[in-house]
Point group: C2
Chain length 188, copies 2
DNA sequence: GACTCTCTGTACCGATCGGTACAGTCTCCG
DNA sequence: CGGAGACTGTACCGATCGGTACAGAGAGTC
């Protein structure tokens, strides 16, 4: 076994960028082949089930990144202010201040949503749960916490759309600072 | 001339739903043919430049609908409260309370953005201008007005993404009511 | 009834789609 | 050094892609 897992691990981010840029249906095998430098032979060696498996594993990798870098810290933190700041910072880095698009969001909007419905649903639900529980722990009512949390997630997604549509990354940065403020505002 | 323009007008909404559901790249000619009941012959009779022309005209039609039903009322109104309420109501109807996706947003996220960059940019810019000027007229500073307006647009887009991802239209309705509230809040 | 012009279905085009087959190359291990 | 198994490129598959060609169908005009 030469480098079975490590090669695969280096592959997923490359695949992710192709899916991000072209969506699931738009990401053709030849685009993927070009982006990775791998022929179909190698691609199908790593992913015997083809495109769908590639997308599934890319989504799982993204999910894993957020689990470690965003969700888990949210769950274990006792300091809402620091936790929210860390989340915002992580999100800003991940989305390159609005210049990078959210693959999970892209898939949610497209026809391939049904194919990946469970993964897409899970990703946002776990984020929402982790964030709203942090807010609850900090003294907010369950309903208000859930509401603020949902508002935060949707603002991030919308900011990515609008920043790209208007080609203005400042929209994303500003939206993140709004999110932070609304999340940490005193109870109504 | 049998019914040259009227047939075309009936065609565009059908085309719009196909692009909405599958994105630009995912909307194949056969999907379009099936949705409209028209063969390629007819399709290329109405749209000699093919798929790209279809999408361009669909975007123009959507733009026209928003111009008449959303942007113009925003521009001509002197009553911010009524104007915002009318906008929210129109948006809720148009997006079928979150069950329908925004084609302009879908295209903004995809690889076809570059192809339609001008139309996408224009759509959001004109909405943003109309809304922020309404807010300015009502006494808000230009900077704050622009900020609140941008926040409103991005919240609507994000709510569409999240409502679809979590398969929960209530997210959209709730987001609209938040938008309304933040738009009409007293100056900080 | 002949002519015009809008509209339509069908057959077809080369290119590309996602996927398969397979012979080879490389590397590690004994 | 020889075999095993991980990897790779190439040729190929049937299906479908977006688009074109074209012969008609149908309705309106004279």
């Amino acid at each position: 076994m030469a480098k079975p897992v490590s090669g695969r691990a280096e592959l997923l981010p490359l695949l992710g960028e192709v899916f991000r840029a072209h969506g699931y249906e738009g990401a053709t095998l030849s685009l993927i082949s070009e982006a990775t430098g791998l022929g179909k032979g190698s691609l199908y060696h790593f992913f015997p089930d083809g495109k769908q498996q590639m997308a599934t594993e890319v989504l799982a990798e993204i999910d894993g990144w957020f689990e470690v870098n965003i969700f888990a810290p949210l769950r274990s933190s006792g300091d809402p202010e620091a936790a929210v700041a860390a989340m915002i910072e992580g999100v800003d880095r991940y989305f390159r201040s609005g210049r990078r698009v959210c693959l999970v969001g892209v898939i949610a909007l497209g026809a391939s949503r049904d194919m990946f419905a469970v993964q897409v649903h899970d990703y946002f639900k776990r984020w929402n749960d982790a964030l709203s529980r942090l807010l609850s722990r900090s003294g907010l009512g369950a309903r208000a916490a859930r509401q603020r949390s949902t508002d935060a997630l949707l603002t991030i997604q919308g900011a990515l759309v609008l920043a790209r549509a208007l080609d203005d990354p400042a929209i994303f940065r500003r939206a993140l600072s709004d999110v932070s403020e609304r999340l940490l505002a005193p109870p109504d």
